[in-house]
Amino acid sequence: MFDWKLEYSVEILPRLLSATVNTLLAAGFGYLIALVVGLVFALLQRTGVRPVTFVVREIVEFIRSTPLVVQIFFIFYVGPQFGIRLSPWTSGMIAIGLHYASYLSEVYRAGLDNVPKGQWEACRALNMSPVRTYFRIIIPQAIPPSLPGMGNYLISIFKDTPMLSVIGVAELMHTATTIGTETYRYVEPYTMVGLIFLAISLPTAMALRGLEAWVRRKMGMDR
């Protein structure tokens, strides 16, 4: 029964597009949270204080090894059990933010570890403070190799936003499902959702590769 209703597709497009904006906002905010919390996770693991490193490490491993969708449910439903009401949006943001923070912390750690030991030693020899060492010397060198990973996770977050539909966030997938149940026609909404995802993720991936190359050139780290 393959017959594509064009007018129907055109009709539902505006709704899908506005839901796309919601999706992009959710992805964007989630990513920002992840960028910051991830850095915190990474730096905490470098403090050298054994208990701290251990606890943070276990938390990061736990979050990384368990499904995001279960974490989303957990955060959304656990609140009310203890009297805190979290909106779907808020729970979603927190879940995505924490989940990807744990991935990003690994990317950051690898980037930081890969800065040659000699750099640290040079800073020590010049009597630089730790803060200056980190922010002026080490972190700038840790960034270019980390960019591919950071970029990939941005795209992953975008693709994971449909999971928020299970707790009722009105993003793209949720809207498509709603449209589908209203009209009993799922082909057009779901297919268009797929196409919209491709239309956003593929160019973004290409743009990110271009960005990586640009940053590399700019920092003179072109090999």
């Binding site: 499904p67 969708v69 449910f73 957990f74 491709l198």
Partner: protein
Amino acid sequence: MQQYFDYLQQYGPRFVDGTLVTIQQTFVAGFLAIAISIVVGLMKLSTNKAIRWPAIAYIEFFRGTSLLVQLYWIFYVLPLFGVTLEKFTAGFIAVGLNLGAYGAELVRGSIQSVSRGQYEAALALNMSPYKKMTRIILPQALLIMLPPWGNLLIELLKGTALVSLISVADLMFEAKQINGSTYLSAESFGTALIIYYLMARLVVSPSMRAFEKFWARKMGRFGNHV
């Protein structure tokens, strides 16, 4: 704490049932993903455009769209094209196809990482392309790709949680059901999270590391692991 033990006593069996289904999904999807990865990975290395382009299209498509969307599409939309899949099947096929795309890139990258000199030495010895691949290149590529494959298999395990959304009675499905009737969310979803964690940390990762060690030893690098 005592409450939790009571909870586990009462609902434990259902968690076990769900976990078994999750394990089944992971295994079947895993085999599918590995098979696809090898075939598509090799296809992408072909100099023949007619072979390479479908591989590229497959990889870009399944990596560029989300697993949930693919899952829904396969389960809800395919029937309209005449292909009706039972939900368990739809589940592992979606997960397998999706992870297979990532795996294909891994396979391709690892094969390309094997140093040029190996290809040249094999050619200088007049080895056929088939022998060169199977006896020289692929064994070395396998060693390179095992660590990232460990991560990919954990992603696979996590991905199976989504099949609960098409009502496959896996671990997450059971957790949701139990939560629905007891409202004990922390216990229900918390237990599910712990079980997923245990499967990943105590089963998948150690198994992969053991295989890595085994293969490294077979490759003669025991004690000199690259």
